[in-house]
Amino acid sequence: MKKLINDPADVVPEALAGIEAAHPDLRVDHANRVVYRADLPRPGKVGLLSGGGSGHEPLHGGFVGLGMLDAAIAGEVFTSPVPDQVLAATKLADSGAGVLHVVKNYTGDVMNFDMAAELAAAESGARVVSVVTDDDVAVQDSTWTAGRRGVGVTVLLEKIAGAAAEQGRSLDEVADVARRVNAAGRSMGVALTSCTVPAVGHPTFELGEDEMELGVGIHGEPGRERVPLAPARDIAAMLVEPVLSDLPFGRGDRVLCFVNGLGGTPLIELYVFYNEVQRILGGAGVEVARSLVGPYITSLDMAGTSVTLLRVDDELLSLWDAPVRTPALRWGI
């Protein structure tokens, strides 16, 4: 394992120390591993918080700041945080107007955030609403299973709901915007290599030189199927078509197109790939109203990409365009 780290057991706290040192607008509660805005509390504003296992940076800590999250909780690598952490973050994010939990749909995340919400209600009476993202079309959707994973849409939701919260909307309104984003977004990813969990020390799975894992999750979970390595234009079709047909997106739809890097794939490849994605969308008559290209929800050092499409209307677009000031997304301010 070749990583720029010290003891694998210390990766999360040390990365948080680095985030705190690099970003004067942010603070870190080291005991609870919570990154939060230095300007909290913000009376009257709905608190927006998210979190999950670490290893997906900049998600979530890199999205803390004006116009996006108030606090982000860092679990161990690929392990959802525990209720105590979520509870501490909920208290930090609560300025009296309630707190929205943005939870990616993984059994562990959902259960730990639920327990925290129960504790928060019991302890402080803070009003907590949870919105669960589940946009990964690689996973069969079914009420009999854990359902779909939350992936790329989480980033877009945090930005858009963050803007709604910043405008002073109520908890129910912000939750409503968040649910609309989740309902209108779909994603799918592919891995060209595995990731290596620091505490494990070797790749989570083995992929041959000529193979890739289609429909991979962001924790190195195996995907839909293992297929032969293919040119970018074919990979783009393999990801975009299931995404398009799932919602479904149709001719004339306006979308936000998010091509995400999984951590080990450099930007030059993401742009080559984005070129293919937008070509397919053009062919399908889908209009790209906004785009985002870069590593925003990663899987440690995994090489690969994911495509997220979000159907937007004028309101979602204006919330997307609203000012944001975080380490990873910033504009308008």
Binding site: V82, V139, A146, E221
Partner: protein, 223 residues
């Protein structure tokens, strides 16, 4: 050492159980992670190790006053340190076991088995997994059923726990053929078949630890 009534399960017995569980988890840490790498995210070994180490540290040295209090403390520590899916589930299991045991200084084998049953109900209430979903429930449920049956048939505490450990191991083995419907492995659909479930594997360790330790004391006067 607390005074104990012959044939009853003491706080020390539970502590021995937790200690044995922590040791078995430590010994099987890599194996649990490898199982999780195949159908999950390669952290079950680390999660359980972090949790059982913390739980043991929380009750070792100065054990709580009763078996119930000890189980609660273990449950709270697991909830607060494990994370992931297994944290709330194992945590809830021990919390419910503790609640069922109440404040009594010792518990009879029947009370212990009833408490384990309550623990499973907590796991199912939290995770909503059914038998055959390829989860820890597939090891826990047959284990407690086996213990219940053995006691009902008038068999010894030792025999009951041995039966439970055997049933847990069989339940664990049975998960290999299953298609996961809950937890992270469910994302794989049919591809999850052919792999043993990591949570069922750690649950079988929990029962193996019970058989190995609780019986040592409890055995004396229970038959």
């Amino acid at each position: 050492m607390a005074d104990t009534v012959a044939g009853e399960v003491s706080t020390d017995d539970l502590l021995a159980w937790v200690r044995a569980f922590a040791r078995l988890v430590e010994e099987n840490r890599e194996a649990l992670t490898e199982l999780d790498a195949a159908i999950g995210d390669a952290d079950h070994g680390a999660n359980m190790h972090r949790g059982t180490t913390a739980a043991l540290a929380a009750v070792d040295g100065a054990p709580p006053a009763s078996p119930g209090a000890l189980a609660k403390k273990v449950g709270m520590t697991l909830v607060s340190t494990v994370g992931g899916a297994s944290g709330p589930l194992y945590g809830t299991f021990f919390l419910r076991v503790g609640t069922a045991l109440g404040d009594a200084a010792t518990a009879t084998p029947a009370e212990v088995v009833a408490a384990l049953r309550a623990g499973i109900e907590g796991v199912v209430a939290r995770g909503r997994a059914e038998a055959g979903d390829k989860t820890m429930v597939d090891a826990l449920t047959p284990a407690v059923a086996a213990a219940e049956e053995a006691l009902a048939a008038g068999r010894s505490w030792t025999e009951a726990l041995t039966a439970a450990a055997g049933a847990a191991a069989a339940g664990r083995d049975a998960t290999t053929a299953m298609v996961a419907r809950k937890g992270r492995a469910s994302y794989l659909g049919e591809r999850s078949a052919g792999h043993q479930d990591p949570g069922a594997t750690s649950a079988a360790l929990l029962l193996a630890a019970a058989a190995e330790t609780l019986l040592g004391r409890g055995a004396a006067g229970s038959t």
